[in-house]
Structure formats: structure tokens, C-alpha cells
């Protein structure tokens, strides 16, 4: 079994088989982490103040890819208001501003929290979330 605190089964699974990278119509936004070269593209199909569908395509490290893939599964179907709050919470969580137990129910996110020990890598985990945030902002304009 793999006991690495960061690269747990679930992270590797999402890295190797990222979910929801697909062609859909919607508002799209790109994100780029200059320091490590990670790239994310988010497309959100927004209807009735809800994210009806979401595509997240990443090119980068396991952390960023897994984070994006997990995100794509978790936020689909949420209302814009819910998503905004959720992103805020995840950002805080990944930055270590919330206790580890906070996401006890969402074990994929809890697994991601291993990177808190390597603060440089937090950016990788945050990138998809920030890109989604920017996507939604773009929609508002």
C-alpha cells in the first residue's frame, strides 16, 4: 500500500484519470502557474445561476491535476452562490487556515491537504479553484 501522505491513492487516481476534461460550451478561462508551468482551462456552462456543466482540463503536476479533477466533480450542479462560498472555504483549507477535520466528509479534499506541509505546492492545488473563480467573475461581467 501507498503510505505517502501527499500522493495518496485517491490523488493518484484523479491524476492518472482526470475527470471531466471535455468539450462543452460556456464561459471559459485559463490559469497558469508561472513557477512550475501548470496550466488549467475551465469551461463552465451556467444556466439559471447554476453551474450546469463543467470542464476542467489540466496540464501539469499530480497535485494540480488531481485538484482540478476533484473540483470538477464536487462543484457541478451547485448554485453560483454556493460555489463562491465553497471556493472560499477550499482556498482557506488548502492554505491551512482551517483545521484538517473541516473536510472530513469530502475525503478527496482531505487527501489533498497533505500538501500543506509544502507551501510552494499549495499554489498547484489552488490553481484550478482560482481559475474557476475567475471564470465565474467573467460570467458576471
Amino acid at each position: 500500500m501507498n503510505f505517502d501522505p501527499i500522493y495518496q491513492e485517491v490523488i493518484l487516481d484523479h491524476y492518472k484519470n482526470p475527470r471531466n476534461c471535455k468539450e462543452i460550451d460556456g464561459v471559459s478561462e485559463k490559469g497558469h502557474n508561472a513557477s512550475c508551468g501548470d496550466k488549467v482551462e475551465v469551461v463552465a456552462k451556467i444556466e439559471n445561476d447554476k453551474v450546469e456543466d463543467l470542464s476542467v482540463c489540466t496540464k501539469g503536476c499530480a497535485i494540480c491535476t488531481a485538484s482540478g479533477s476533484i473540483m470538477s466533480e464536487k462543484v457541478k450542479g451547485m448554485s453560483l452562490e454556493e460555489i463562491e462560498k465553497f471556493i472560499e472555504k477550499v482556498k482557506k483549507y488548502l492554505k491551512g487556515e482551517l483545521p484538517e477535520e473541516e473536510f472530513d466528509e469530502i475525503f478527496e479534499l482531505k487527501a489533498l491537504s497533505g500538501i500543506r506541509k509544502f507551501p510552494v505546492r499549495i499554489k498547484c492545488a489552488l490553481l484550478p479553484w482560482i481559475t474557476l473563480e475567475n471564470t465565474l467573475k467573467k460570467d458576471k461581467k
Binding site: 501507498n2 500522493y7 493518484l12 512550475c36 508551468g37 501548470d38 496540464k59 503536476c61 500538501i115
Partner: protein
């Protein structure tokens, strides 16, 4: 084989750490840290013009650093050694000041393996002035740098060649001696970026019989403090250039209407210099010379060769280095694992390497890669560090189930 960990307090204080990131910045020996700390405790005062003894004694040390640096490079004119804050400032100084002399239609040659510090300033200058920037490529397969790849680009319009002596990613040594000879013969100015070369090799430009117009490097990569860089320039070239930064200490006289600038080296050292860091450079060179730069080169090359051999034995690991290496730089990738993930797993094992573009994006792109993991060996590393690296690289594959 060198056994120098004991001279480096960071390595003593952190005995679990396997430090393989000297390519980014080297650790400092007691000999340097203690001297500079003591300097601040016993002698410190601003240099120049102070009549009292603290100021004079500080000035003497500062000047000694300049002499030592000239000797280290094997050049004669001490006043042609200019202290800057780092290699980057040294190159920008040349780009701004010598750059004024270039004009539309002129050509500058750089290589694809340059660090951004020796690429972006020329790119920006070229853009601003309508200068043509020509790129000399290394051989993609051998990762070697045939001299013709540079010399064939030379035309009547070539005014400057800005060339790294050693790639910070591949460890490839450029054919700087031959290129310099050609440039000297044709009256083309040549700048050599020695940031990765100086810390690892004995050099003596006079003995080599070449006369680079500019040579730049940083103190922090050769066991001095960060905050000091060097620009050596040919006397007539420096004298012919306008100052870069202006202000105090680089002036003969100032009236409201005009200023007369001081002679070399002051002309290019405006303001209070990084005195402590400059003195750390003096001590660092003394330290390295006491070990012997030939020995340093031999030692780190030996470690790198062993690491390369062992890495290549691991399935899915690719090493990016030329056949003939002479320093401690080892860049590699592992199929299926992003270099940032490699560096993270290694960091869990206290193996300190760097991952990413290494400020050499044009090279990485040219090689068709996104990013490299890079381990760099220096004089204080040993075989045990090689073992730790290999072990940890193997663990990467286990973690990723590859």
C-alpha cells in the same frame, strides 16, 4: 575524495538533509560566515573617504576583494572588476550601457541554453532598438555545443555575442574559448556568463590567451553571501561606456548643470556597495582556492557521473546531460511523474533538488520538455548524497506505482 561537510554549518546543523541545489545557490562555509559576522562585529564602517581607521580598514578589505577577484579570473586590471549585486545586474549593466552603442540592424548572438538573465535583457534591447537577436542552438541529441553553431551566425553586422560558459540545466560547457578567439579576431564584443562556470572550474583568461570583453558571475553560487555579483570588463571597453547607475561615489564633481564621472571602477559602483557581501566573496574565493578548484571540479564531476550512471539504470528515468561532463549538474525526468511531484517526494526524504524551468524556458521548450528535476553536486556533497538521491528517485516510482 573531498570530505568537506564539516566546513559547512548548514550541513552540520541539518544532518538529515541531502543538499543538491547548489546550482541555485551554494551553502557558505564557516570560513566565510564567521569572517563576515566578525567584520560586522569588529571593523564595520562605510568605505570610501572615511579618514578614521574603521572606515579605512573596511576599505582595505573591500579593495582586497577586488584584487582577489581579478586574480581569480586571471586578469590584470584590478580596476576593471566591478561589483554589482548579482549576475543579472552585471548583464543588465552591459545591456543598458554598452547597449546604447548598438543601433538598428546590428546583430546580437545568444545561445538557446542561456539563463533568462542572459537572454531577456538582450531580447528587450533588441526589441527596443530594432536589433536582430540570433539564436545559436545546441545539438538536441548530444546536448553538446559545436562551435560552428555559433560562428556560422556571425556576419558583418554582429556586434555582440552573449554566451553562457556553462548551462545551468544541462551542464553543457559552451565552446567559449574558440568563440572568444573568433570574436576577438573579428572585433566583435563578447560577454561570457560564468555564473555556473566560475564556482566549479579553475579559470585564467590570461593563460587561456583570450580576452572576453565582459565576464559576469555571482558570489552566492561560489560560497559567498548573496548580494554581490561581478562584472569584469576590458578596460578600453568599460572606459568607453556611459555609467549605468548614477549617484554618490561614482562622481568626480557635480554642478547643477553637469556631472563629471569618476574613473574605473567607481564609475560603475554608484551608492553604498554591498560591503559585507563583497568581503564574503574575498573569503569564499580564498576558501575555494585553499581546496583547489581543480579538486572541486574533479570531485563534483565524479559524483555527478555516478548519479547519472545510477539514474540511467532506473526504468523510465531520463537524464539530460552531454556524454562528457565536467561538473555536478544532473537534470532528469521520470516518465509519468511531473518534476514538481518528484521534487516534493524527494523533499519528503530531505533530498533538496529543484524542479521547473530553471530560468531557461527557451532551452526547455527547445528540448520539447515542460520542466526538469535538477540535482546539482558541489564540493561538500559525497557518495552518500548520491545514494540518497537514487533511493528517493526509486521511491517516486513506488509512490506513483510505476
Amino acid at each position: 575524495m573531498l570530505d568537506l561537510k564539516k566546513n559547512f554549518p548548514v550541513l552540520r546543523e541539518n544532518p538529515d538533509i541531502c543538499f543538491l541545489d547548489s546550482g541555485a545557490s551554494a551553502q557558505k562555509p564557516d570560513y566565510v560566515i564567521d569572517f563576515v559576522a566578525d567584520f560586522y562585529r569588529k571593523t564595520y564602517a562605510n568605505i570610501h573617504r572615511g579618514i578614521y581607521s574603521l572606515s579605512w580598514n573596511s576599505t582595505v578589505l573591500y579593495d582586497k576583494a577586488r584584487e582577489k577577484t581579478a586574480e581569480f579570473l586571471g586578469v590584470k586590471n584590478t580596476e576593471c572588476v566591478i561589483f554589482t549585486k548579482n549576475t543579472t545586474e552585471s548583464i543588465n549593466l552591459v545591456a543598458y550601457s554598452f547597449g546604447q552603442k548598438l543601433k538598428e540592424g546590428d546583430e546580437i548572438i545568444v545561445s538557446i541554453m542561456e539563463h533568462h538573465a542572459n537572454f531577456v535583457p538582450w531580447q528587450q534591447l533588441a526589441k527596443k532598438k530594432g536589433i536582430k537577436l540570433k539564436i545559436a542552438y545546441i545539438d538536441k541529441n548530444t546536448l553538446e555545443f559545436p562551435v560552428e553553431n555559433i560562428t556560422s551566425l556571425i556576419t558583418d553586422k554582429t556586434k555582440l555575442i552573449a554566451l553562457s560558459m556553462c548551462s545551468n540545466v544541462l551542464g553543457t560547457i559552451s565552446p567559449f574559448v574558440e568563440v572568444c578567439k573568433t570574436a576577438n579576431k573579428k572585433g566583435i564584443k563578447i560577454l561570457l556568463d560564468g555564473a555556473q562556470y566560475m564556482p566549479h572550474h579553475r579559470i585564467n583568461f590570461t593563460e587561456l590567451g583570450i580576452e572576453p570583453d565582459f565576464v559576469v558571475f555571482s558570489g552566492h553560487k561560489l560560497c559567498a553571501f548573496d548580494g554581490v555579483g561581478v562584472l569584469y570588463g576590458k578596460k578600453e571597453v568599460l572606459e568607453d561606456m556611459e555609467p549605468f547607475l548614477t549617484g554618490g561615489d561614482m562622481i568626480e564633481s557635480v554642478s547643477i548643470e553637469e556631472s563629471i564621472f569618476a574613473p574605473l571602477p567607481n564609475k560603475f559602483e554608484a551608492g553604498t556597495p554591498p560591503i559585507g557581501a563583497v568581503i564574503s566573496l574575498l573569503k569564499a574565493i580564498e576558501y575555494l582556492e585553499s581546496i583547489g578548484l581543480d579538486k572541486v571540479e574533479e570531485h563534483e564531476t565524479m559524483l555527478a557521473k555516478e548519479a547519472i550512471k545510477r539514474l540511467k539504470e532506473i526504468d523510465g528515468v531520463h537524464v539530460f546531460a552531454p556524454e562528457k561532463i565536467s561538473n555536478g549538474i544532473v537534470s532528469f525526468t521520470i516518465d509519468g511523474i511531473h518534476p514538481h511531484d518528484i521534487a516534493t517526494i524527494l523533499a519528503e526524504d530531505n533530498v533538496c533538488i529543484r524542479a521547473g524551468m530553471h530560468c531557461a524556458e527557451p532551452l526547455i521548450t527547445y528540448l520539447g520538455q515542460d520542466s526538469f528535476a535538477r540535482a546539482t553536486f558541489y564540493l561538500y556533497n559525497d557518495m552518500e548524497d548520491v545514494e540518497k538521491l537514487i533511493k528517493s528517485v526509486k521511491r517516486c516510482k513506488e509512490v506513483f506505482k510505476l
